[in-house]
């Protein structure tokens, strides 16, 4: 079998040639080492721009919302799950999308690499299966990829896209090595005061740039609650009360929908621990309803339906 990257290119070429899609949304090499950038290929001659490696972080499902026409999309497992949520929530027409699924072993968290380089800037980088070598002014280092994966990738339980039309690459074996909710459990074990401090510290950093919201495929509201003015739900300042309101409500809005793709965390310019909120909400939904979003096109959104035996501990 050829590399997933080559398979992607091959399928993309075929889909474009056969007129099955108008555009292929995939990744291309970014302008900064170890970054990729979304890429829109409309011409079969350009499929060579498409890449697939551990830098392919952005959740491309975002671009399917509000898009018209037939679209091919390169989707790693979490992107595919976002697409599923989009379909289930009537935002994406299943027949308008050709999902080129790619089994994924996780993507790199550049912030983690930066942290160990201690201020040295990467000027060049290359990757193979499990190593990343980075080069800069007067240094060269080989890093183990596994240690620099995004947190969401480390705890990932769905490395294979649950829904796809074409699979590029071989299915991977799912791992369940670590406890998915380990970090959350640690946080839960803390005292309310400690938790308050944690969230105050993290959310206090927010500059309200809305990168987290805008990269999230599931934040597709035509008008976000923070932008609403009649009434105004949430102040626009960077006061802690406002930033908390924003992040907590956003987490609640993606409750039962968030697939933990980690895009928000990666996008945050202030390195906020956003997953502490989203993962906690995911955990609650899991515990209450034994539900994971984005795995099936048949299942209705868990918080959109009501069943007689739904847990309702909150009403006593």
């Amino acid at each position: 079998m050829s590399e997933p990257r080559d398979q992607i290119r091959e399928h993309a070429r075929r889909l474009l040639d056969e007129g099955k899609v108008e555009v292929i949304i995939g990744y291309e090499k970014g302008s900064v080492p170890l970054q990729s950038t979304p890429c829109f290929v409309r011409d079969a001659d350009n499929v060579e721009r498409l890449i697939w490696d551990s830098t392919c972080g952005p959740n491309l499902a975002k671009y399917l919302f509000d898009r018209e026409g037939k679209t091919g999309i390169v989707a790693k497992a979490c992107d595919a799950r976002s697409i599923v949520v989009g379909i289930v929530e009537n935002q994406i027409e299943r027949e308008d999308v050709v999902v080129i699924g790619v089994p994924c072993e996780g993507v790199i968290d550049l912030k983690k690499i930066d942290a160990v380089l201690d201020g040295k800037e990467i000027l060049e980088a290359s990757m193979d299966n499990d190593k990343v070598s980075v080069k800069g002014d007067g240094f060269e280092q080989i890093l183990s990829k596994k240690e620099f994966l995004c947190d969401s990738c480390i705890s990932c339980r769905h490395r294979n896209p649950p829904v796809y039309d074409i699979l590029a690459g071989d299915e991977l074996e799912e791992t369940k090595e670590s406890d998915e909710f380990e970090e959350i459990s640690k946080l839960e074990a803390k005292s309310p005061e400690e938790r308050w401090n944690h969230f105050s510290k993290e959310l206090g950093k927010c500059i309200r740039c809305y990168a987290c919201r805008n990269v999230c495929p599931l934040c597709y509201c035509k008008e976000c609650f923070v932008d609403e003015t009649m009434p105004s739900w949430c102040g626009k300042t960077t006061d802690l009360s406002d930033t908390m309101t924003y992040h907590i409500i956003r987490a609640l809005h993606i409750a039962g929908r968030c697939v933990d793709c980690g895009a928000c965390s990666r996008a945050c310019p202030e390195d906020i621990d956003l997953r502490a909120l989203t993962k906690k909400v995911e955990k609650i939904v899991r515990e209450l309803y034994d539900y994971e979003p984005g795995l099936s096109l048949e299942e209705l959104p868990v918080l959109g339906i009501f069943e007689q035996d739904d847990p309702q501990e909150f009403i006593k």
Partner: protein, 357 residues
């Protein structure tokens, strides 16, 4: 006090260069703290930014990341314009008091200082002047630092910004290894080092070293762009399909604007109730769909195509028309910050390469 405005900059003096040993720097900073409010690059919670310090130990000159722009020292993200309160049926308003003492902003890169002068144009070049900004700007002594370590994303030189430029600074520190060459550019700048025994007159060797370092740093800037007559180009391609393509991957967040040292758009909001509260101004960004949304529902910039175009036009065309300068200093923050790795250098190259259709 020296009056300063965009049109009437303080008199630039030529004073003799001094040097200070690096080990003495903290002593100098601590001595400043006795007299001034001091702002300097710090790292808090992993985020490098310009912040008020209370001790020289907080200063961080080699941050692992590009620090947040110093614009927030003059134009905070959230700034109270005034507070109001209804007491016994009578409404009273109170503006925050003007700064009581002078401030020193330490170690700003030339590009960021340049950005401040650009912002001056917006806030102070016509009446009514923005008093909130002006007050802070007038009462702050800018201590620059020559940029001897540019980042890979820097492209200042292409936009006419010199990493060893001194425009807009009151005092500049230039790193030549174990010491800094220090040059007072204005009286105010000279004032803060006058009488300090830590500063010695520069020797010839130091100045030679400085030349060397400066040359190296300028060479280290890898990105070279040709943006000659870009404003004309932009006018020509205003309706070009280029904008559709270039905007396709933009998700419409405000990272680029918020990290940009020149972006200055803001929103005004009331926080509180009819009885008591404050009116604040908050950074805003032209990439947000609601930025130009009218109450009627009409929006002149409906999609990211128009919004990206506005951003580029503003920086590279409209600003030139109004002030004769580009509203970009090539600091590269937006490149590093963009979650989709949208690279303004590529956009600029794309603009220059586009023939109007």
């Amino acid at each position: 006090m020296i009056l300063r405005s965009s049109s009437n900059r303080s008199v630039v003096l030529k004073m003799k260069e001094k040097t200070i040993e690096k080990k003495d720097l903290s002593g100098f900073i601590d001595s400043l703290l006795e007299e001034y409010q001091v702002f300097a690059p710090t790292i808090a919670e992993g985020i490098p930014r310009f912040d008020r310090i209370s001790s020289s130990t907080q200063v961080s000159l080699d941050s692992p990341k590009l620090e947040r722009s110093p614009k927030e020292v003059f134009f905070p993200q959230c700034e109270t314009l005034f507070t109001y309160q209804l007491i016994d049926g009578k409404m009273t308003m109170e503006e925050p008091p003007a700064l009581e003492s002078e401030r020193v902003l330490l170690f700003v890169r030339p590009c960021d200082v340049k950005a401040l002068t650009l912002m001056d144009s917006v806030f102070t070049s016509w009446e009514p002047k923005d008093t909130n900004y002006l007050d802070k700007r007038e009462k702050t002594i800018i201590v620059g630092r020559a940029c001897s370590r540019p980042w890979s994303t820097c492209f200042c030189t292409s936009l006419g910004v010199d990493p060893f430029g001194k425009e807009g600074m009151d005092l500049v520190f230039e790193d030549i290894g174990d010491k800094y060459v220090v040059e007072a550019l204005t009286e105010r700048g000279g004032k803060i080092i006058d009488g300090s025994s830590l500063f010695k007159d520069a020797e010839k060797k130091d100045l030679e070293n400085l030349k060397e370092v400066s040359k190296k740093a300028t060479e280290a800037i890898r990105s070279e762009l040709d943006v000659k007559e870009i404003e004309k180009k932009l006018k020509a391609i205003y309706d070009d399909s280029f904008w559709g393509k270039v905007s396709e991957k933009c998700v419409g967040c405000g990272v680029c604007s918020y990290l940009c040292p020149v972006c200055h758009c803001f929103d005004v909001q009331d926080e509180g109730t009819e009885l008591k509260g404050k009116r604040v101004r908050i950074w805003d960004a032209c990439q947000y769909p609601i930025f130009t949304l009218h109450a009627s529902g009409h929006n002149p910039r409906t999609s990211s195509r128009e919004r990206i175009r506005q951003r580029m036009m503003h920086k590279f065309s409209y600003f030139i028309e109004n002030f004769g300068e580009l509203a970009c200093v090539g600091c590269g923050r937006c490149i590093k910050g963009c979650p989709g790795n949208m690279d303004i250098r590529e956009v600029l190259t794309g603009i220059m390469a586009t023939e109007a259709d």
